[in-house]
Structure formats: structure tokens, C-alpha cells
């Protein structure tokens, strides 16, 4: 835990303080990581969100049709995606795809003593390796969440339009009327927190790998598990926080 806080402090320093002391951010590396973490994850995120939107709409329609309330399917899909499932599922996808990659990449550099080589060359590994990934994650996870929300809503629309016979205008109006802007903001805040957790935990497990290739695998597994668990716990805490704030 102490290493985790130390890493966070170091990240904050190299991100917010060091640029004002003549040590600029590695913008190109950051954009490169943004492409790797975010842009290349768009198809996977889109597929996941679409399937979740479709599933939510079908399940909702199945249950709500018992009460003759299929008109509320857009409400269910909109609220669920914006508040919870959008940021959570995109987070899980990014953990599985990019978080594990970050741990494995940095862990491999660690076991091959590239990190020590950087330190020998007076290059801070946090500044050189962690900060670009951290910034990329902080930008791209909310970005992917926005895409995921839209695509999930499109999945719900597909079911409402072609299975329930609801017209597109009515679907959009119901979503807009049922969801509040706070639902969107809470989802975005969650995705920012998740991005922080995923980036820092993945980098920490990468920087603390021991034991060669086997250690890299073990660290990657542990990184994914801890990221998912910490994200779920943070999600519960944030939901409780927003619940208290809104009520």
C-alpha cells in the first residue's frame, strides 16, 4: 500500500509539478499510449456496449411486458448505461485489454532490467513510462465510456425499434426525459476514478514484478484481479456518494 501511495505521489509530481520546472511531459508518447489504450480498444468496447444495450433492452422488455410497461425499456437502458454499466463495463474491457498490457509491458522491462538501465541513465521511470500511460488512461477511459454509452443506447434502440415497435423519436425522447444530466456526470466521474485506479495499479504491479517471466504472468494476473475488485469497490462507494448527494 505504501508503494501505491508513493507511486501516486510520484505520478502527481511528474504530471502537475515537473512541467513547471522544465521537465516537460512526453506528449508524443502519451498520444501513442492513447492510441494503444483507447483508439484500438474502440471496437471491443463498442461490441461489449452494444451487446449490453441489447441484452438490457431484451431483459427489460421481457420483465416489463408482464406489467404492460414496455414503454419504460428506454428508461431502463438509459439509466443503467449512463449511471453504472457504461463506465463499469468499459472499465472491465480496458482492464482486460490495456491494464494487463501495461503490467506485462512494464513488468517485462523490469525483469529485463530496462528500468534499472533508465535509472542508470538518470531517467525517471515514472516520468518516462508511467505518466504517459496514466495520462492516456485518464483521457481515453472517459472517451471510451462516452462511445460506449452511445453504442449501448443504440443497442437498446435496436430492440425497442425492431422488437417492440417503438419509433425512434419516442425512444430518444424517453431516454432524454428519464435520464438526468447528473446521471451522465456521475458516470463520467466514475470512469475518471476507474481510469486512475487502473493506470496506477497496473503500473504498480508492473514496476514491482519479481521472478522473471513467471513473475510477469503472476503480476499481470494479480493486476487484473486487483483492478477489477478495486473498481467494483470504488463503484459501490461512488454510487453511495452520489446517492447521498442527490437525495
Amino acid at each position: 500500500m505504501r508503494d501505491y501511495f508513493a507511486l501516486n505521489a510520484s505520478i502527481l509530481y511528474w504530471t502537475f509539478l515537473a512541467p513547471f520546472r522544465g521537465k516537460a511531459l512526453r506528449i508524443a508518447a502519451t498520444f501513442h499510449q492513447m492510441v494503444r489504450i483507447g483508439v484500438q480498444a474502440v471496437p471491443m468496447t463498442a461490441l461489449t456496449s452494444l451487446s449490453i444495450g441489447v441484452t438490457l433492452a431484451m431483459q427489460g422488455a421481457h420483465e416489463l411486458s408482464r406489467m404492460g410497461a414496455t414503454a419504460f425499456v428506454p428508461d431502463l437502458v438509459g439509466m443503467s448505461l449512463l449511471r453504472e454499466l457504461g463506465p463499469l463495463l468499459v472499465g472491465v474491457v480496458v482492464i482486460g485489454r490495456s491494464g494487463s498490457a501495461i503490467t506485462a509491458e512494464i513488468g517485462t522491462m523490469k525483469v529485463s532490467e530496462e528500468i534499472e538501465a533508465l535509472e542508470v541513465m538518470a531517467i525517471n521511470p515514472v516520468r518516462f513510462l508511467v505518466v504517459p500511460r496514466f495520462l492516456a488512461m485518464m483521457v481515453m477511459l472517459p472517451t471510451l465510456t462516452v462511445f460506449g454509452n452511445y453504442i449501448g443506447l443504440a443497442g437498446g434502440w435496436a430492440i425497442c425499434r425492431f422488437s417492440l415497435g417503438m419509433n425512434t423519436d419516442a425512444y430518444i425522447r424517453r431516454v432524454v426525459e428519464s435520464a438526468h444530466v447528473m446521471d451522465l456526470y456521475s458516470g463520467m466521474i466514475k470512469s475518471i476514478v476507474f481510469a486512475w485506479l487502473i493506470a496506477t495499479i497496473s503500473c504498480l504491479y508492473g514496476l514491482t514484478v519479481r521472478g522473471g517471466a513467471e513473475g510477469v504472468g503472476r503480476s499481470t494476473t494479480n493486476s487484473v484481479v486487483v483492478c477489477i475488485l478495486s473498481m467494483l469497490v470504488a463503484n459501490a462507494l461512488l454510487t453511495a456518494f452520489f446517492f447521498v448527494v442527490e437525495s
Partner: protein, 316 residues
């Protein structure tokens, strides 16, 4: 070149995402930078389910959002028309909403029990003056399912209190009432059984009545035909009677005139008649005596009357 490509790709994705996020935020929360076209104010006692940016509907059509919610201070409540009002809402109306007239009433409504609540503006008199920007409109707090449940809860609590607290008097009273009710039901049963026999009798009466009605109907038919047949003769009879009455009247007049004209003669005639009657009486008495004497002595017819003694009876 590759770095430039990465930068462009990432920037494009981020910018697209930012645009989509802003669009979604505007769609859900409205444009925060645009001042509302017009506002109306209203006060409520209870706005459960209403929050900032809740929908405002005019006659069911979306017409704006709730711009702000403010709780009233005690002094404001006292100064208010209805001191029970506790919160004031500012309703921001869309620019496409036409001028609203006085008489508009705001209420908290929802499409269904499960749906979100909104502010419903209803009514308004088209010939009334147009409401000014920021005007205060009256409100009504609708009876909601929660209110009904609350009232029902208090009612049940009251009943519970009666049943629990009135164990001495209440239960005995209830028991007495139930006994009375039981007796009343028994009497009602007896009445009902008596009434059933009466109903049976009534049915027979109704049957007979029906027959009578049938017969009466026949009689009425006959009577009608009789009247139809005898109408003309009766008319002529009545006409004749009328002429007869006229003749009688005429005759009576004539008799009256005759009597008046011959009144003196009649008097003398009557006096003479009286005299004649008196003479006749004397003659009758003499004849009776003659008959009596002849009855006693029929030979008088041959031998003449001679002397005879009066009987005692004749002397009396």
C-alpha cells in the same frame, strides 16, 4: 510520421468523444448557457419527485423545465396567500411556448404511478390578460397515492387505538352493536320470509289484476264501439231534448201568461168550486144517510121512508 498519425487519431477520437459528451449533456440537462425565454413562479406545499430540470408540461406537451427550487422562509410563508406552501419553483418555459394567460394552474403530475413527476400547467382563460414574465401562478397539490396511503394509515391507527384503548367500553359497545345487528338481521329475515309469502299473494293479485285489466280492456273496447255507434243517435236525442226543453220553456211562459191573465177568473172559479165542493159534501152526507137507511130498511124503496128512529150511533 507515425507519431503524427497517432496524435491525429487520438485527438480525433477525443474531440469526437467530447462533442458527443457535450451533446448528450445538453440533451439531458438543456443548454446551461442559454437564459430561459420566460419564467413563471409557483409555490407548492409538497414537491416530492420534482427536482431541478424536471419537465414542465403545458396541457401535457413539453413546455420547459424547472429552473430552480427555493424553500420559503417563515416570513415568506406567512405573507403568502397559502401559508401551507413551503417551496417556490421557477419554471423556465421554452421559447416556442405561446403566451400564457391568467387562470393557469400548476400541479405536480406524472404519466403513470411509476413515471417521473413533472409540473403540469393547465387551464388558463384565452381572453384573460397575458401572464407577465416571472408572474406567480396558483398551484394545486394533487391527491397522490402517498397521500391516500398516509390517510389510510392514520385511519387504521385510529381504529387500532379504538380497539386497543377501548377494551373496557369500546369492545362491549361493539359487542352490543353486533348483538343488535344480529337481532336486526333476524327480524329482517322474518320480514323477508313474510314478505316472500306476501310476494306470492301479490303475484296472484297481479295475475287477477291482469285478467281484470284484460276484461276491462275488452269492456273499454266495447264501450268505445257502443259510444261510436250511439254517438249520432245521442246527438240527435240531445238536440231533440234541447228543442223539447225550449218548447217546455215556451209552454211554461205561455202558462204563466195565461195564469196571470186569468188569475181573477180563476179565483172566482175556485170560490165557486169550493162552494160546489161544500154542497157536494152535504149531498154526500145525505146520500150516505139514505144508503144507510136503505140498508136498514130496503122496503122503503117500495113503501116510502116513514118515521124511523135514529140509532144511538146516529145520534152520537
Amino acid at each position: 510520421m507515425k507519431k503524427l498519425g497517432d496524435t491525429a487519431t487520438a485527438a480525433t477520437v477525443v474531440v469526437c468523444s467530447a462533442i458527443m459528451l457535450v451533446a448528450l449533456a445538453f440533451a439531458l440537462g438543456g443548454n446551461p448557457f442559454r437564459a430561459p425565454g420566460r419564467t413563471l413562479r409557483t409555490q407548492f406545499t409538497d414537491i416530492t419527485g420534482i427536482q431541478q430540470s424536471s419537465l414542465v408540461k403545458y396541457a401535457g406537451a413539453p413546455a420547459g423545465t424547472v429552473h430552480s427550487i427555493r424553500m420559503l422562509s417563515p416570513s415568506e410563508r406567512t405573507a403568502s396567500e397559502n401559508p401551507a406552501n413551503t417551496v417556490e419553483l421557477v419554471l423556465a418555459l421554452n421559447r416556442d411556448v405561446p403566451d400564457l394567460n391568467e387562470g393557469l394552474v400548476a400541479s405536480v403530475a406524472s404519466d403513470t404511478l411509476l413515471a417521473d413527476k413533472f409540473i403540469l400547467l393547465d387551464g388558463g382563460n384565452p381572453s384573460a390578460p397575458v401572464l407577465a414574465n416571472g408572474a406567480m401562478i396558483p398551484s394545486i397539490t394533487p391527491v397522490t397515492f402517498d397521500h391516500i396511503l398516509r390517510d389510510l394509515n392514520s385511519t387504521l391507527a385510529g381504529i387500532d387505538g379504538i380497539l386497543a384503548g377501548g377494551a373496557d367500553g369500546g369492545l362491549s359497545r361493539i359487542r352490543e352493536t353486533l348483538d343488535q345487528l344480529n337481532a336486526a338481521i333476524t327480524e329482517a329475515r322474518a320480514l323477508i320470509s313474510g314478505a316472500s309469502s306476501m310476494v306470492e299473494e301479490g303475484r296472484g293479485l297481479v295475475k287477477n289484476g291482469n285478467q281484470l285489466l284484460d276484461e276491462a280492456g275488452d269492456l273499454v273496447g266495447d264501450g268505445r264501439s257502443l259510444i261510436a255507434e250511439t254517438r249520432e243517435p245521442l246527438k240527435s236525442l240531445l238536440a231533440e231534448l234541447s228543442s223539447a226543453a225550449d218548447s217546455l220553456d215556451d209552454m211554461a211562459k205561455r202558462a204563466d201568461a195565461l195564469v196571470k191573465n186569468n188569475e181573477g177568473n180563476l179565483n172566482t172559479t175556485i170560490v165557486d168550486a169550493r162552494k160546489a165542493v161544500a154542497d157536494l159534501k152535504v149531498a154526500a152526507a145525505s146520500a150516505r144517510e139514505l144508503i144507510d137507511s136503505l140498508k136498514a130498511r130496503p122496503q122503503q124503496i117500495i113503501w116510502g121512508p116513514g118515521r124511523q128512529r135514529r140509532t144511538e150511533q146516529q145520534q152520537r
